[in-house]
Amino acid sequence: MNQSDRHTKEGFSLPDQYFEQSAKQMLRRIQEEGFETPANYFDALEAKIHQKKTSKTKVFRLIPIKWASAAAVVLLAVGSWVFLMGDHSESFSEENELVYLEYLMTDPSFITEQDLEFYFEEEEEMDDETLFEYLEEEELDWETLEEFI
């Protein structure tokens, strides 16, 4: 499907040059940020990744026992939680959770204390003044209010 096909797909229409404009807007923003890449970086990336993924053989790594135990505990805890809390009348996203956990397990060095903190991080408390400013700027909704009350 090319861009002109997309203009009429399912009866929807969109402003002329919409995708070109949005690409230009994205580009302008990036240029304002001052970030650059080497010339033709994106053109060469595909070949680089293809090469890397085909040359990568499966390597068995020694996992430090500390991380192996930590990962096992996390897996067990999450598994139990999923089992206990889940609605067993339908199969829900536990398979994806397991895929994600499997992904984490492939690189145990990835699971650090900070990672765990990140996932279970408490929101910073707001002082009253900041809270009022915040509520003035944002639309009030119960979900937001309940987090602070």
């Binding site: 499907m1 090319n2 861009q3 997309r6 070109e20 690409a23 230009k24 994205m26 580009l27 990036i30 240029q31 304002e32 940020e33 001052g34 970030f35 650059e36 890449t37 080497p38 010339a39 970086y41 994106f42 053109d43 990336l45 595909e46 680089k48 990744i49 293809h50 890397k52 993924k53 990568k56 829900f92 996203s93 398979e95 994806n96 895929v99 499997e102 992904y103 492939t106 690189d107 990835f110 650090t112 900070q114 990672d115 990140f118 996932y119 991080e121 929101e123 910073e124 707001m126 900041t130 400013e133 915040y134 700027e137 944002e138 909704d141 979900e143 937001t144 309940e146 987090e147 602070f148």
Partner: protein, 194 residues
């Protein structure tokens, strides 16, 4: 960079289902993977670059992300969108890398900002002006979640709902994080100006 490259990258958009079908079929896997790269590589690259700041790091992270995606895509069940899944992996990989780079996370904010300013000034792939330099330094000194939310909202224009799925948190918490981030950045920019 790249001025012309963005325009050509979005000629083809395949649905999640189409991409997954191509990649999980042995005969079309490489073609499908190429299309997946074509469709997502730039958005993911800039998302990662804003977190890790240097091109070399962004390149490393992006390659790892796509290799992991290729390896795990056959198991992807589609409970979240491919976009969400890719951004989640990219975010985790990028955060993982900056943690490895910053063993001392208790560094005072001022030192983090000075470090970032020095790093960007010496980076051949950064040409931002002073204002952008200080903005990047202020962003880098934010707590992780605030940094992610600020980048995604301010630079990438990501909707709170999409962000909530990627970062697995509530819209309310994200709005609060963004608000905190803006206040801290404003305060730092004022300090730098006066």
């Amino acid at each position: 960079m790249t001025a012309a490259s963005l325009n050509n990258k979005y000629d083809y958009f395949l649905s999640d289902i189409e991409l997954i079908a191509l990649i999980t079929n042995r005969e079309t896997a490489n073609k499908g993977f190429g299309l997946l790269l074509n469709q997502y590589q730039e958005r993911l690259y800039w998302h990662v670059r804003r977190i890790v700041l240097s091109h070399e790091d962004a390149d490393d992270v992006l390659q790892n992300v796509f290799i992991k995606v290729f390896r795990y895509l056959p198991n992807f069940k589609g409970d979240s969108s491919l976009y969400t899944w890719l951004f989640r992996i990219a975010t985790n990989e990028a955060i993982g890398l900056i943690k490895k780079r910053k063993p001392n996370i208790n560094l005072p904010d001022d030192e983090i900002k000075e470090e970032v300013v020095a790093k960007l000034k010496s980076d051949p792939y950064f040409n931002g002006d002073d204002a952008m330099l200080h903005l990047k330094a202020a962003i880098a000194s934010l707590p992780e979640k605030q940094m992610l939310v600020f980048n995604m909202k301010y630079f990438e224009g990501t909707k709170y709902n999409d962000m909530a799925e990627i970062l697995e948190t509530s819209v309310g918490a994200l709005k609060a994080s963004y608000h905190h981030a803006v206040k801290k950045i404003e305060m730092y920019i004022k300090e730098v100006q006066y």
